[in-house]
Symmetry: C2
Subunit: 240 residues, 2 copies
């Protein structure tokens, strides 16, 4: 076991320090919708995404002339042009551009993970590509779910569980945390029917009220892209 | 739905303030082993249990002449006579006595929940009794898992999920939190075989190393007693 890499799951960014033990790779997940949107943005030609945690920083970038998106509580923040809608990035208008993004949970999670050697972003939409990448790396990995305002959420955990399930089958081990075991079990219960399983997810209900069914449907569909957003010196680029 | 009571699960004491919304009932769970041990203690005639959070307080009570138990990291703390072993309470020697107890997670969870109107302690060993009591109360309930040093744990969550599963079938609703949905799903996956399911639980492994198989087996067996420990003015007594 000792030379096999470990894989662990942390349920929310505020718990990061309890779970981070110097793992060289951290995988950040915000299925609904930040990391999913990032995959789409790169798929549609975005060059770079600068993730910022606060609206203050976002406004600062706006003043400097950047294209800036901001989402809070599922909605685009007043004064910004876009938010974190995956379908909203299905356009050529950001092609070749650098954009700045701040979201309720996802960008904060990315900035929390920043101390790791390698940080990538995952969702159901790029699951196989992420699994393949991690399998090739053979290094200790921490999966950081974005959650919802420091609370556990189901969709990120199940997506994290899918990665654990895959890596454990490939020889990785869960060294210490029940959260990783639980994520794997939840994925195994959910895998044949994400939509049905997640119908009771609180954030899905939250977004449904905001008429974001298209985003939800897209975000829960596995393997729409092979893009992996990759953090390099504080900015996200497309891996490879 | 509005007049039906709600039921929610909080995974660890340090998250209590994120999940506590004035629910009149809080159910504290520390399957391995504090709340299980409390049930046994009352079953064997203990009159009162004073739960204290710190070793300093425990030592203070010892100086005052109380019978004091203290556990940290699965072991009895040096200088104390007993810890939180359920089988250790299967004796007449505490009959009619008041004891003081401090444990790594469970007693802290009970003191965290103290602000609620009613606080009771649960484990697999008194599951039916707790379910029956909650069904009769018909009030909003928060289930507080003791976890392991602020981390999620599997056995408390599954026990909490068993209560959620029962109360939802009886008409309660999960109002807001994915943690409650996840607990219910995990229970449903685990219910036909707790032992098998929990073989990968980190705390079970921890206790197994300490040769506590008897305690584990007892703690995971449902409905050994109908005792419900009940917090009254900071002290636990037997309900009813």
């Amino acid at each position: 076991m000792a030379d096999k890499p470990s894989v662990e799951v942390c349920f929310s960014p505020d718990r990061f320090d309890l779970y981070y033990q110097g793992q060289p790779i951290v995988v950040v997940i915000d299925v609904l919708r930040a990391t999913t949107a990032m995959c789409v943005a790169f798929e549609y030609g975005v060059e770079k995404i600068i993730p910022v945690s606060s609206l203050e920083e976002a406004i600062e970038y706006q003043r400097m002339g950047f294209l800036v998106g901001a989402e809070r509580n599922g909605k685009i923040v007043d004064g910004f042009d876009f938010g974190n809608s995956p379908t909203g990035f299905m356009t050529d208008k950001f092609n070749g551009k650098t954009i700045v993004l701040t979201t309720t949970n996802g960008t904060r999670a990315i900035n929390t993970a920043n101390k790791a050697e390698t940080v990538i972003a995952a969702g159901f939409v790029n699951l196989d590509a992420v699994n393949q990448y991690l399998k090739e790396q053979q290094r200790d990995t921490l999966i950081l779910c974005s959650g919802w305002k420091d609370r556990f959420n189901l969709e990120d955990t199940i997506c994290g569980g899918a990665i654990v399930d895959y890596l454990v089958a490939e020889g990785s081990h869960i060294s210490d945390h029940d959260s990783s075991v639980a994520a794997k079990y939840l994925y195994q219960s959910a895998k044949t029917n994400y939509f049905g399983f997640l119908k009771s997810s609180s954030h899905r209900r939250r977004l449904k009220k905001l008429n974001l069914q298209e985003d939800i449907k897209y975000s829960l569909t596995p393997n729409k892209t092979s893009v992996i957003p990759f953090l390099k010196e504080g900015e996200l680029i497309k891996l490879g």
